[in-house]
């Protein structure tokens, strides 16, 4: 029986302070003179809540324990109601190792094991754990420490070739291969495509909110404002400065988020490592990957970039939602993305030649009524709003929306490509944002195809597949020829070939 690391208490208190800081400032600093009942009682509630939580944090440390044997983890918790949960190690889908500044301070780390089980107790989290114990736990879960990229390498910038030598050694020692590390050029491209320089807008707005009321005389302040507006040169200068600052902020944000990024793999696992200050290492077993998705937004398509996502049955519990753990890297050059997919998952291959839709699919797509447009237009006709003092705005808006809908459909027609091979399906679809979906036949847990009345006229159909994920992943491709839908159906009926193969494989083990 083991207790969690004692510093867990400190870590949780730190989290508590971090989470309640804003509310605390609001209650005791900003609104300290307010008699409004919400703030008045809120203060007492706040203090009571924080105190209770503090007590809970300390007491729960004594109550929460864990133990393990060769096959399972057993977690015990609960102050008044004792709770014991047993989690089989074989159900662990992926591992996240998150090292925040707090952890670095004490030379510690955190570990989260995620499973594909339903319910509340579907993950095992070690909020604070010593590095040695983390190694031990990882070994328990069959993930060798050497496979998780080593941290020591990061401490100083090493000479380039030295690092390469290290990598080469690694390749020999384990079958651990590094597939991707972004170059500065990649990152520059990424910082423009991510539009992260637009982050300056909320920052400036926030500053304005904070500084505005503090300025001594608002009339005087507005006076300056008008003076600025009067002089064109000043405006141009300020705009240039603002744009430069915005771009710099964008680049800094991108570098801090995606700068230190490494995708690597061993025979059984994929490892993603990222973050400059808050380090996160993520490992997922290749076996558990249900499919892959490549996503291209309009902007990324212009820059030739794409995001590769892994579809797995574990529910990602990312603490910072800025970067999804299921995403390999959001700004990969498209060819690199294909190579990376094939390198990481040798089972998968990217089919170059795919079928395209015929003209009748285009007619179908254009003829299909757009309910969204109809509802919005009906609303516009009823309210007839005037925007920018334009009486005609409502039908212009309706027209603009119609145009967007049509462009989106034509793009969808152009982007839609599909193919099936022995045991793999692959298709592209989507208008402004296009997606490629690729999966193995045995990973598809259900399929259906359907035909609406309009599709019957054009001899077209829609195909849907279902993959395990949380929630269940349903992918649909619309308006493909009916013949292909039938071919697809027959192909799917051959599914047990792959599945039986799987069982045989198990027997060999």
């Amino acid at each position: 029986m083991m207790r969690y690391h004692p510093l867990t208490i400190i870590y949780r208190i730190y989290q508590l302070i971090k989470n309640s800081l804003i509310l605390g400032i609001l209650l005791f600093v900003v609104k300290r003179n307010s008699d409004f009942w919400l703030f008045e009682y809120g203060r007492y509630l706040f203090i009571a809540g924080v105190l209770l939580r503090l007590i809970y944090i300390v007491v729960s440390w004594f109550v929460e324990t864990y133990e393990w044997d060769n096959h399972t983890f057993q977690l015990k918790k609960g102050l008044f109601i004792k709770q014991t949960s047993t989690i089989p190690i074989s159900k662990i889908q992926n591992v996240t190792r998150h090292t925040t500044l707090f952890h670095k301070l004490f030379n510690l780390t955190s570990l989260t094991f995620e499973t594909a089980m339903d319910g509340e107790d579907d993950s095992i989290a070690f909020e604070v754990v010593s590095k040695q114990h983390a190694t031990f736990l990882l070994e328990l879960a069959n993930i060798e420490e050497e496979q998780l990229p080593k941290q020591e390498n990061k401490q100083q910038e090493q000479a380039q070739h030295e690092a390469e030598v290290n990598d080469a050694e690694k390749k020999v020692e384990t079958d651990h291969v590094i597939h991707f590390e972004p170059s500065h050029q990649d990152l520059l491209k990424a910082s423009f495509t991510s539009l992260s320089f637009l982050a300056i807008i909320p920052i400036v707005m926030g500053l304005y909110d904070i500084i505005g009321p503090l300025l001594p005389d608002s009339d005087h302040y507005q006076g300056i404002f008008y003076q600025i507006i009067d002089s064109r040169w000043l405006i141009i200068m300020l705009s240039v400065v603002a744009v430069v600052i915005a771009i710099i902020i964008g680049i800094v944000r991108t570098f801090s988020r995606y700068g230190k990024y490494r995708i690597s793999s061993s025979a059984t696992h994929i490892y993603i490592e990222r973050g400059l200050l808050d380090e996160t290492q993520f490992a997922i077993e290749k076996q558990k990957i249900q499919g892959l998705e490549i996503e291209q937004t309009l902007l990324k398509r212009i820059f030739g970039l794409a995001e590769v996502k892994l579809i797995s049955s574990a529910s990602p519990q990312s603490e910072d939602h800025a970067v999804s753990v299921n995403s390999l890297y959001p700004f990969l050059p498209i060819n690199r993305a294909y190579q990376l997919m094939e390198a990481l998952l040798p089972d998968y291959y990217v089919e170059e030649s795919m079928n395209r839709l015929t003209k009748s699919s285009l007619y179908m797509k254009l003829l299909k009524p757009s309910w969204f447009w109809i509802v919005v237009t009906a609303g516009l006709i009823y309210f007839q709003p005037t925007i920018f003092q334009m009486d005609a705005a409502w039908w212009l808006l309706s027209l603009l929306l119609l145009l967007i809908v049509i462009v989106n459909r034509i793009l969808d027609y152009l982007h839609t490509k599909y193919s099936i091979s022995d045991d793999q399906l692959q298709w592209w679809h989507g208008g402004l944002t296009s997606r490629m979906f690729i999966t193995k036949r045995r990973r598809v847990i259900e399929m259906s195809y359907s035909q609406s009345m309009l599709q019957r006229i054009f001899q077209l159909a829609s195909i849907s597949t279902m993959n395990r994920s949380t929630p269940t992943r349903i992918e649909t491709i619309n308006d493909v020829p009916l013949d292909f839908a039938k071919t697809f159906h027959h192909w799917y009926l051959q599914r047990q070939k792959d599945a039986i193969y799987q069982q045989k494989k198990l027997e060999h083990n």
């Binding site: 045995r442 359907s450 929630p471």
Partner: protein, 160 residues
């Protein structure tokens, strides 16, 4: 289009029409009470409009509920093999569904009072991500099918 093997019980349209009619009658009674309340308490005009709109829906729905079961019956097909459960149905949009047996997690039959009168049962099949209902089968057919699906679904794939 090569159709799947089996159809629903031919009693399905009758049973469906009866149960839907009962539902519609209850709906109409509720609506009539609301209209009376509207008249008696002099509700605002928009309430009146909403009630009229609802009435329109219910009337169209009631007429449709006499026609739909026949078409639905004609469109419904299912087929079961060692490896797959296949369904196809739909009056306007036709749907073909294929579920591998190994992915089926539970199968159950159920029977309401009207279906009991006609000796019918429905079968519900649940998988990891979806559930499907075969609406009306003869009692012995349903029980046999349930047993067969349960038998075939025993096999598990190594994919967890």
């Amino acid at each position: 289009m090569n159709e799947l093997e089996h159809q629903l019980s031919s009693k399905f349209p009758k049973a469906r029409i009866i149960s839907e009619t009962i539902g519609n009658i209850i709906g109409l009674i509720v609506l009539a009470v609301l209209f009376w309340l509207d008249y008696y308490f002099d509700w605002p005009i928009w309430a009146n409009w909403i009630l009229i709109a609802v009435l329109l829906f219910v009337v169209v729905g009631t007429i449709w509920s006499f026609i739909e079961p026949h078409y639905l019956y004609r469109s419904w097909r299912y087929q079961i093999s060692n490896d797959y459960l296949q369904l196809s149905y739909g009056v306007f949009t036709k749907e073909w569904v294929t579920v591998p047996m190994s992915k089926i997690q539970s199968v159950s039959t159920s029977q309401g009072p009207i279906m009991r009168g006609y000796q019918l049962r429905s079968i519900k099949v649940e998988t990891m991500g979806s559930s499907h209902v075969i609406p009306a089968l003869e009692e012995h057919v349903a029980l046999e099918l349930r047993a067969r699906i349960a038998e075939f679904a025993k096999l598990k794939e190594v994919d967890e």
